[in-house]
C-alpha cells in the first residue's frame, strides 16, 4: 500500500492492485459523500444479454451471506443518510451521503459487501430483481414521454454492433434472459481493483478513515489491466450524412438531433460542452434566442452526454411552435449553428458555464461525483480541480472549432416524434 501523498485537505490513496481513492476534507457541513465508481457499465454487457451490468448493480443490495436484502439501504437511511446507485454505459456508481460519524462504518460495510458480492448472485435474488428491473425500465423509459429518445438516437449514432448503441439498462426481452452465470462472469471480470475509483468528500479527517479506505480498496481483487480488458467497440466515424427516424406519438411533436462529440476522456470534450452551452443552455443562448424568441419553437435545449470509450453525444431538443413544420424548425437550427460566436455570446456562455461549474463545486455530493469520474477518466483529480483555470484561459477559437461538431454538415441523427 502506498502512503497518502497529501495530508492536508486532500489525501490520495492507491493500492498495489490499482484501486484509487481520494479523500477531500471539507468542513462546511456535517456531511460526508462517498462515491465509488466502477469503470464498467452496459458497454461491457455481452451482446444479447443487455441489462447484466444493471442487474449486478441491483444485486449488490439484494442480500448476501453478510447481510440481508436491502439492509444497507435501511442502515444508511435509518441514520438520515441517502444511498443511490446508477448504471451507465461506461461506469457503475454507488454513492452514500452520511453523517461524519458514519463515514468509516459505511466504507467498511462496502468493503464487506464487495468481498461477499458473489454470494448475492443467486437465482432467488435475480428472480426478484428481474421484476424490479422491468418496472424500472417502464418507469424511466417506456412510459415516459419521449423516454426512449436517447436510446433511439444512440442506436443510430454509433455503428451497428457498438455497445454504445445499446440501452444502458437493457430491454425487457433481454433482461429476462440474464442469468446468474452472466452476472457472476461480469462481477468477476469487472469489479476488480484497476476499475475501482473512490472519492470521499466532506467533514472527514483523511487520517482517521485511511484504514477504512484501504479496506474498501483492498476488497477488490487485483485484475488485468483496464486495457485491453474492455471489449473493443467497432470504431468508425459513425453514420454518414443524416439519418432520420420518425416515431408516431400522441404527445406534441418533438425533435431530437444527435451529434457525435469528442470522447469525454480526451481533448476537445470540454470545448464541445462549452459550445453546447453557447448554443442552448439558458434563456439567452443562441438557439433559444433564434428559435423560441422568434416563435419558431416552443422550447429548445442542448445536452452533452459524456462517453469515455467512444464519441460523446450532443443532443438538441426542439419542440416546434404550433403551426411550424419540422423542416422549417430544422432549417432554423441549421442557420443558427453555423455562425461564429459574437463577443456577447462568448461572454454569456462562459459566465453560465462557470456558474454551473460553481454550483457543482458548492455541493459536497456533486464534488464527490466529479472527483470519482475524474479518477476514472484521467487517473487523477487535477483535471477536475483545475477545470476553472481552463475555463478562464480557454480561447474562443477552441469553441469555434468545437462548433463544427454541431454543424449541419456534420453527421447527425434526426429523431422526430410526430404528433399523430
Amino acid at each position: 500500500m502506498l502512503a497518502p501523498r497529501e495530508r492536508d485537505a486532500t489525501a490520495w490513496y492507491c493500492t498495489a492492485g490499482g484501486a484509487r481513492a481520494v479523500v477531500v476534507r471539507d468542513g462546511t457541513l456535517p456531511l460526508v459523500a462517498l462515491n465509488l465508481r466502477i469503470a464498467a457499465g452496459s458497454r461491457n454487457d455481452v451482446a444479447g444479454r443487455g441489462g447484466t451490468a444493471h442487474a449486478v448493480e441491483h444485486l449488490m443490495f439484494a442480500g448476501s451471506v453478510r447481510r440481508g436484502r436491502g439492509e444497507h439501504l435501511r442502515f444508511v437511511q435509518s441514520h438520515g443518510g441517502v444511498v443511490n446507485a446508477v448504471t451507465s454505459v461506461d461506469w457503475t456508481r454507488f454513492s452514500d451521503v452520511v453523517s461524519p460519524s458514519l463515514a468509516g462504518t459505511v466504507l467498511r460495510r462496502h468493503a464487506e459487501g464487495i468481498a461477499a458480492a458473489d454470494t448475492a448472485l443467486t437465482d432467488a435474488n435475480l428472480a426478484m430483481e428481474r421484476t424490479v428491473l422491468v418496472h424500472e425500465r417502464r418507469h424511466r423509459v417506456t412510459n415516459v414521454g419521449y423516454g426512449d429518445a436517447l436510446e433511439r438516437v444512440a442506436a443510430r449514432l454509433y455503428p451497428p454492433g457498438s455497445p454504445y448503441g445499446r440501452p444502458a439498462m437493457g430491454v425487457e426481452e433481454e433482461i429476462g434472459g440474464v442469468s446468474v452465470a452472466d452476472c457472476r462472469t461480469f462481477l468477476a471480470r469487472y469489479y476488480r481493483a484497476p476499475r475501482a475509483n473512490l472519492a470521499v468528500v466532506g467533514d472527514v479527517d483523511p487520517d482517521r478513515v485511511a484504514d477504512d479506505v484501504y479496506a474498501l480498496l483492498g476488497a477488490f481483487a487485483p485484475g488485468a489491466e483496464l486495457v485491453p480488458a474492455d471489449p473493443a467497440p467497432p470504431r468508425s466515424s459513425g453514420p454518414v450524412g443524416r439519418h432520420r427516424e420518425v416515431v408516431r406519438t400522441s404527445l406534441r411533436t418533438k425533435m431530437f438531433l444527435g451529434y457525435r462529440l469528442p470522447s469525454e476522456s480526451g481533448p476537445g470534450f470540454a470545448a464541445a460542452r462549452l459550445a453546447g452551452f453557447l448554443l442552448g443552455r439558458g434563456p439567452g443562448a443562441r438557439l433559444v434566442d433564434r428559435l423560441v424568441r422568434r416563435g419558431i419553437a416552443a422550447h429548445v435545449s442542448v445536452r452533452v452526454i459524456g462517453r469515455s470509450g467512444d464519441a460523446s453525444v450532443g443532443l438538441i431538443e426542439i419542440v416546434p411552435a404550433d403551426g411550424v413544420s419540422v423542416p422549417d424548425a430544422l432549417r432554423a437550427v441549421d442557420e443558427a449553428v453555423v455562425e461564429p460566436p459574437t463577443g456577447r455570446e462568448w461572454d454569456r456562455a462562459r459566465a453560465v458555464y462557470r456558474a454551473a461549474w460553481l454550483e457543482d463545486l458548492d455541493s459536497i455530493v456533486e464534488r464527490s461525483d466529479g472527483l470519482s469520474l475524474s479518477l476514472q477518466l484521467h487517473g487523477a483529480i487535477d483535471p477536475y480541480r483545475y477545470h476553472e483555470t481552463w475555463l478562464s484561459t480557454v480561447d474562443m477559437s477552441e469553441v469555434v472549432g468545437a462548433l463544427r461538431y454541431w454543424h449541419p454538415d456534420a453527421r447527425r441523427v434526426e429523431l422526430v416524434y410526430r404528433h399523430d
Binding site: 435509518s78 424568441r293 419542440v319 453560465v352 456558474a355
Partner: protein
Amino acid sequence: MTELAPAPAGTAGSRLAVVDQDAGVCLCTASVAAVHRRLVAVRVSVPGGPLYEVPDRAGRYSAAVRGLLLDDTTGPALVESLGALGITPTAGATPSAVYLDILGPREVIHRGLRMLADRIGVAELSVPAGRAGAAAALFDVRRRANDSGTFAVDALRAARAAPDGPLARVPDGTVETLAGLRPAHARQALRAIAAAPVHVIVAGDTATGYREDLAGWVDDRPAVVAPPVVPRPVLRAAPERRCRLAPRRAGQAYLLWGTLRRLDGVADLIALELAVHQLAGWTGSRLWRVFREEQRYTYGLSVTVEPYHLDGELYALASVGMAVDADRVSDVGAALTDETGRFVAELRAAEIAAAATRLLRAEILYHDKTSGLMARTARLLVGGFPADLSEARSRVLLAVDPDEIRDRMVAVLDPTLITIADRSAP
C-alpha cells in the same frame, strides 16, 4: 458497536433578518458558511398570485412573471442581462404565491437582484411579453400533464379542494385558461405584483445589502396594502375518495394515494410528515416493504408533503405515488387501503421516535446545494413555520412526544379524507 450520535441540526441557520413593514418587505436569509460556497440563491416571492385569480383567468400571475423575464421592448431582456452575469433566472407559481428565482456567483448576485427589482418597479409589461409569458406558462403546463406523478398530484388537489377555492387550480393555469389569456391580463397581474408585499429569501453568502438592492422597486412606492383576502371555502365538504384521470399509456398505470386537509398548526404538519415518511418514505417503510420487496408491484414510491398557508390557516397535501402494471391496478388500489389501515393500527411509539430521528438527521441534506436550501427555506416560510424556520422544525422533531404525536398521526390519516387517484387505461 460504536455509538452513532445523530447529526446536529446543522451549522446553517435561517433567520428573518429584516422586516420592513412600511415598504412591505420581509427578508429571510438562510446562512451557509461562506467557505467554498460561491453561489447565492435568491427567491423573490410575492404572496397571493393564484389566490386572487378568477377561474377563467388562472395563470395570469405566472404569465406575468415569465413575461417579465422576456420583455425586450425597452432594452435587453432580463434573461439576457442576467445571463451575461452567469445568473440563471426562473419564474413560477405556487398555490399561494408567484416567485422569481435567481442563482448566481456571489460577486454578481447583488447586481442581478437590483436588475430584477428595478425592472419589477417599472410595473409595466409589453403586449408581446405578456403573450410570451403566457406561452411559456402554457408549455410548462402541457409538460406537467405528461408526467404522471405531477399530473396526479394536481388532480388530487383538484379532487379535494373546493371547486372555486384557491387550491383547486394548478398555479400556472390550465391549457384552456392560458390559451384564453389576453396580454392585458398579464399586465394587470404585473402591476399587482409590483404593488404587493414581497418576501425575499436568500441562501448562501448572506452578507448585507439585499434590502438595498430592492430600492428601485419598493422605495417610494405607495403604501403597500395587502390584497384583500377573498373568503371562500378551501376544501370540499365531501371529498372524492377515488378519481380517475385521463389515461396516458396502457402499459403502465399510476396510482396516487393522498390527502389534502387543514392542519391544526405546526405539530400537525410534523405529524403528517412523520406519518407519510413512516408509511412510504424510506426503504424500511411499510409500503416499500410490501409493494416493492414482497409483492413487487412497483420499482419505487415517491412521497410529497406540501404545506400551504392560506387565510391564516395551515393546509397540507401529502401523497404517495407509484407506477404499476396496468393489470394490477385493482390489486394495488385495494392493497393501499388495507396497508394504510394496518399501518395506523400497528403504529408504535418506538417507530415514531426512530422516524423523527431519521427526519431530523436528514434535514442537513437540504443544505448541500444552495438552490435546494433556498427552495426548502421558502417552502417552510410559506408553510407557516416560525421565524427560525429549520431550527424550529428540528426542535419539534427532537422534542417529539411519540404518544402525543401518534394520536395526531392517526388523525391526519383519517381514511375518510384519503383519495386515490388512478391513471390507467379504462
